[in-house]
Symmetry: C2
Subunit: 291 residues, 2 copies
């Protein structure tokens, strides 16, 4: 069966399939064993979560999904690579392709019996990090197209009785207000100039392009605080590279490390901007897991 993206006609979110074979015949997930359907040529269109990877995190609407490979007898014994299905998920991230997610009875957020189709998710980030085993694993951050309330409501009839909602920061008015103020504050403080390259990107209408970037991410899984002490004003290029751990900022000297063009340059900082070193330290540690 050729790779097919998006919803499957006649299959609704929350629907139960007794066996992998039924999932396959319905066209939800063709392979009978592999967790990822799709590869380097097509992108990945579907994954099945059925346990077996110690680095997985599953909050129902948010999944930290470990790629495949490097296991023997269900133990991680080698590094994973961005090949086959893992490369498929990379492509799906780059092209913003929807991925069908199915959960099996083996996992906490799965159904009591069989496999449950849980709708479409998007990969918004991928990375290669040292997992619990000490070997490199490919990690994919997936977010549901539905918000958590919708999703719980739809899946409720087929969630395990032991299901517990993961703690998550609700998007409340106060939170939004604070984020807005901090984003604005940091951008204004630096007059929209990047703290790495000191570039200011003007546009014909509206504020210059810049990003109020969190040093320790506020989203899952980092759950950093949304405070100015945890923020930098960056251009999109250096934001993308900071976020992907191409470079770090020395937590003691504020010198930039890992960028040829700005190697050892001191981060441009405003006298009134106190950056909490613990967040730079956290970012540096994550950098080390990837480099």
């Amino acid at each position: 069966m050729s790779v097919h993206f998006g919803p499957v006609k006649g299959v609704s979110i929350g629907q139960i399939f007794s066996r992998r074979r039924d999932l396959s015949e319905a066209g939800v997930h063709a392979p009978l064993q592999a967790g990822i359907w799709g590869g380097a040529n097509d992108g990945a269109c579907s994954i099945v979560l059925s346990g077996g990877y110690e680095d997985d995190i599953d909050d129902l609407d948010f999944i930290l999904y470990t790629g495949h490979g490097g296991q023997e007898n269900k133990k991680q014994v080698a590094d994973q690579q961005f090949t086959v299905g893992n490369q498929g998920l990379v492509l799906s991230c780059e092209l913003k392709l929807p991925i069908r997610v199915t959960r099996g009875e083996q996992i906490a957020n799965g159904p009591d019996h069989g496999y449950r189709y849980d709708g479409l998710y998007y990969v918004h980030k991928y990375e290669r990090v040292k997992g619990k085993s000490g070997f490199y694993v490919c990690r994919f951050h997936l977010r549901s197209q539905s918000n958590i309330d919708q999703l719980e409501e739809t899946l409720k009839p087929n969630l395990k009785t032991s299901y517990e909602r993961a703690p998550r920061s609700e998007v409340t008015y106060e939170k939004i207000k604070r984020i807005r103020e901090n984003t604005k504050k940091i951008k204004m403080m630096y007059d929209y100039k990047c703290q790495v390259c000191e570039t200011k990107l003007d546009v014909p209408s509206g504020d210059p392009i810049s990003i109020g970037a969190h040093i320790k991410g506020v989203g899952r899984p980092s759950n950093g605080p949304d405070v100015v002490e945890n923020m930098l004003c960056l251009c999109p290029n250096h934001h993308a590279q900071f976020d992907r751990y191409s470079f770090y900022i020395d937590p003691v000297t504020y010198e930039i490390r890992g960028l040829n063009l700005y190697e050892n340059k001191k981060l441009f900082t405003h006298e009134k901007h106190f950056i909490d070193k613990q967040f730079l330290k956290y970012h540096f540690e994550e950098y080390q897991r990837r480099n």
Copy 2:
């Protein structure tokens, strides 16, 4: 009533309200006349579409929404500014806040009678362009959180009998395959280097960061073709500025115009990359509408 983001408890997508007062009392859209609820301090949390702006485009899942202001007796007689509600929508774009959309009986995609709540949308782009009147209007590109099939299915009982699905390019396997190949092709051709600044942004895992950017956008409303002749390889910074019309590329000489740092520099091009001048011309004309 203070601005409130996201779904409203007890209100479902497709629900009909007889009058603006009912919408207001339900907490969907508090103002009784204004089309935008929210402003510069809070962001905008809700809009009502009820006609009256000649530059609006409404495809149900995609809306080109004209901001408010500059009208007298329902005619555009002055330029619009990014103030009040318009500034609220800018903020909602920057912070990726969800916006409730309600359609009135006055418009083609509205209900037969009254007002219909159509769920959450996100502003993914905003700009200030010369409208049909010749005056500048603020334009917001909104996309529904739901895909078009879901949305039509949910709203079907309360769509006008004259409702016609807008032509749209379906995300099919073939389309995705082509986009993938072109994106990859253009990035490989330039070895992930930006055609403006010739920067290459390395990352620890995966391909360097670069964007296969369409000169005439493939999405609505431009509907440009997805061909390499309509593409450039750009870094995120210059992609953002190109997309926001901070600069253009002279369709005859390929010289960059509008960027201080690269003014009159010739675009870096590969001998095998044929760029179709008609797309540069289209982009230049759009640049002129904004500058």
